[in-house]
Amino acid sequence: MLIKLGKENLQSEFVKLVERISGEELANCYQCGNCTGGCPVSFAMDFGPREIIRLLQLGQEDAVKNSNSMWLCVGCLQCYCRCPKGVSAAKILEALRQITLRKGDDHAQIKEIAFPFMKNAPQQAIVCGFRKFVS
């Protein structure tokens, strides 16, 4: 992957916004990969949590936004529990979701959710799913 680095990426408004909403400092991550090692869904993510943080450190807004990673994070906190630097990738991925949802860009359309699921699933799955996928 070709990455163009410049001041405009490294100090972009987007990166600052991620830091502000998540409360995490991206520079604290030293890329050991423990988070991705513990992440149960990294196998399905375009970029695992470590890579997402690296891309953000390098200001790669589009790569991060266009990846499926934020929508697959289950918020299990294994990344945070195993991070030797106390970084929470979970918060960073939640911030990415929030940035998208707060613009009104929903990830799930309520009318497209299968009826049997709405009828039989535990309420908590529906409430939690809406919180993560719908603005």
Binding site: V74, Q98, A121, P122
Partner: protein
Amino acid sequence: MKISYYPGCTLNTVAKGFDTSARQSAVLLGFELKELVQWNCCGAAFPLTPDNVMGLTAPAKVLSNARKEGDTVTTLCSVCYNVLKRTNKVVRDDKEKRGVINNFIEEEYDGSLNVIHFLEVLRDKIGFDKVKAAVKRPLKGVKAGAYYGCMLLRPFEDMGIDNAEAPTIFEDLLKTLGCEPVEFPNKIECCGTHLAMGNEDVVTKLSGNVLSSAKNKGAEIIVTSCPLCQYNLEKSQKRMEGSVGGTQMPSLYFTQLLGLALGQDEGSLGLEKNLFDVRPVLKGKGI
């Protein structure tokens, strides 16, 4: 003894057996789970970003109402427990957020409630030795995998129910019921949670990993403390039926197992709602 009890939405509807088996078990152990007079949904997800104060208002309302009825509240669902306990800590320790939340919900709540899981009630308030003494039908020789999932344990500094990497509270309970708990690597891994909404393949993989990990270590049944874990484990097994690596393992709530061991009337346990019935396993052991 009476303990204030917050059922949460799911136990009031699709996971009724989790609720009734716990209430009945409490009676058999000599105490009452007293449902809160007023409660609402906890929101089902603790907001991970610190700037999302809105997500804390629903659980704060629950806590504030519960505080009016006593100093302690217990809950059964791991997610409710996680959301309520973490929100309580924010209200208690963060003065600024407390002010905003109280303003919004029109209450004066200070975070002084004690939020405990029903497993903690059994361990710390009743005592596992007393539970053991009340067992009428020991589940001798039943190899059970205790599945914690995420929300009971993490993050440790907020939950503190047990060691977050190597917990034993669940196994300790199973031992008091006569079971042989099985240690398996995926006991604290995620089931796939809300990805059940639209991403079943990932859930099947995650839950499948939990089930096969338990099975490989010899588990005959798997025990849960969350309706969403229960749902994902059961549905994943249904989806994998007949495929290589598929399992057919009864999965049930720990309170259903507790009820069985205490000699509770089977009609109030909700076992018929479980997709894979535990009773043939018990029968096979002469229980």
